[in-house]
């Protein structure tokens, strides 16, 4: 019997807090990322070592993506966007290690990421435009759109959750079903496809996060030609 993909079993308890497998894998990935970043950035030099070259290449690519998608200077968003991308990529690819289920194949991890993106949208929107300026964007183009805009904010976050969860969970699920039906080597092509899906889904999640934050931030300059036309 295949167990439900929607429930997570607690491995052990720390006080009242139940610790499950995705939590442990997430913390291991976080520790690896922090350790790598600290180890490389402690000895930065103008003649970069191999690891520093890799890191610089990576930061350069992320900066270029942010500049292209958000039409803004990447420095305020680099930490958030870059971390989301690297973490989701590693989490999706952690299924390559035997006996490890990717934490993104559980609904809670994806919901946490989407909650971060949701809060970041509001935070950057208020920081760039002020509280009333940000609230006024809900009443664009007219005040009739206010309920639709509010609903849109929530539904797009839900589709973000379900997109990542569904893709990763279906990969794990299909591998399990094929393994139970066929034999040892048959699921390998499906797992190879899963690697591609994991990379693409990490990219899509990051791009959509950039688009949402960019839309909250960049509506300022777009407003001025509108009001100009109104006069």
């Amino acid at each position: 019997m295949i167990h439900s993909p929607l429930e997570t079993k607690a491995l052990f308890h720390v006080g009242p807090v139940a610790i499950s497998e995705p939590v442990i894998i997430s913390w291991v990935i976080m520790a690896l990322l922090v350790a790598f970043a600290v180890a490389v950035t402690r000895r930065l030099s103008l003649m970069p070592s191999k690891a520093q070259t890799v890191l610089e290449l990576f930061v350069g690519v992320i900066d270029e993506q942010i500049r292209g998608t958000m039409q803004a200077e990447p420095s305020p968003y680099r930490a958030l966007i870059g971390t989301i991308f690297v973490f989701i990529l590693l989490a999706n690819w952690s299924s390559l290690i035997p006996d490890v289920e990717p934490p993104t194949a559980h609904l809670e991890t994806d919901a946490a990421f989407a909650a971060i993106v949701f809060c970041a949208t509001i935070f950057y929107g208020i920081r760039t435009r002020g509280l009333f300026g940000y609230l006024r964007t809900f009443a664009e183009p007219t005040w009739i759109m206010i309920p639709l805009n509010v609903v849109e904010q929530i539904t797009r976050i839900f589709s973000l959750i379900v997109r990542l969860f569904g893709n990763m969970m279906s990969g794990v699920f299909i591998a399990a079903i094929v393994l139970s039906l066929a034999g040892l080597l048959v699921p390998i092509p499906f797992m190879a496809l899963d690697v591609l899906t994991g990379a693409i889904q990490a990219y899509i999640f990051t791009v959509l996060a950039m688009v949402f934050i960019g839309a909250a931030v960049a509506e300022g300059p777009q407003e001025s030609p509108n009001s100009h036309n109104g006069k």
């Binding site: 439900s4 929607l6 893709n167 899906t197 899509i204």
Partner: protein
């Protein structure tokens, strides 16, 4: 009575996946055909076209994944089958 709920759940899960896969399948077919056409006309831009195609396919495929998630919800997390 409980038996009937489970029967209907399994049936509707199969229906959700089978009919939910039609639209994305048609969409993916059209997208791949258009990309093939573009690559055949301009082989130089094959890299850009295929990269955009992969992202677009993943977005289209998400629609089918939604149907799968609904089917799994009906099968595993059905509040009426308990």
């Amino acid at each position: 009575m409980e038996h009937a709920v489970q029967l209907i759940s399994i049936f509707s899960a199969a229906m959700a996946v089978s009919f939910g896969a039609i639209g994305p399948a048609v969409g993916e077919g059209r997208a791949v055909a258009a990309a093939m056409d573009a690559i055949a006309r301009q082989p130089d831009s094959a890299g850009t076209v295929s990269r955009t195609l992969f992202v677009g396919l993943a977005m289209i495929e998400t629609m089918a994944i939604y149907a799968l998630v609904v089917a799994l919800l009906v099968l595993f997390a059905n509040p009426f089958a308990k």
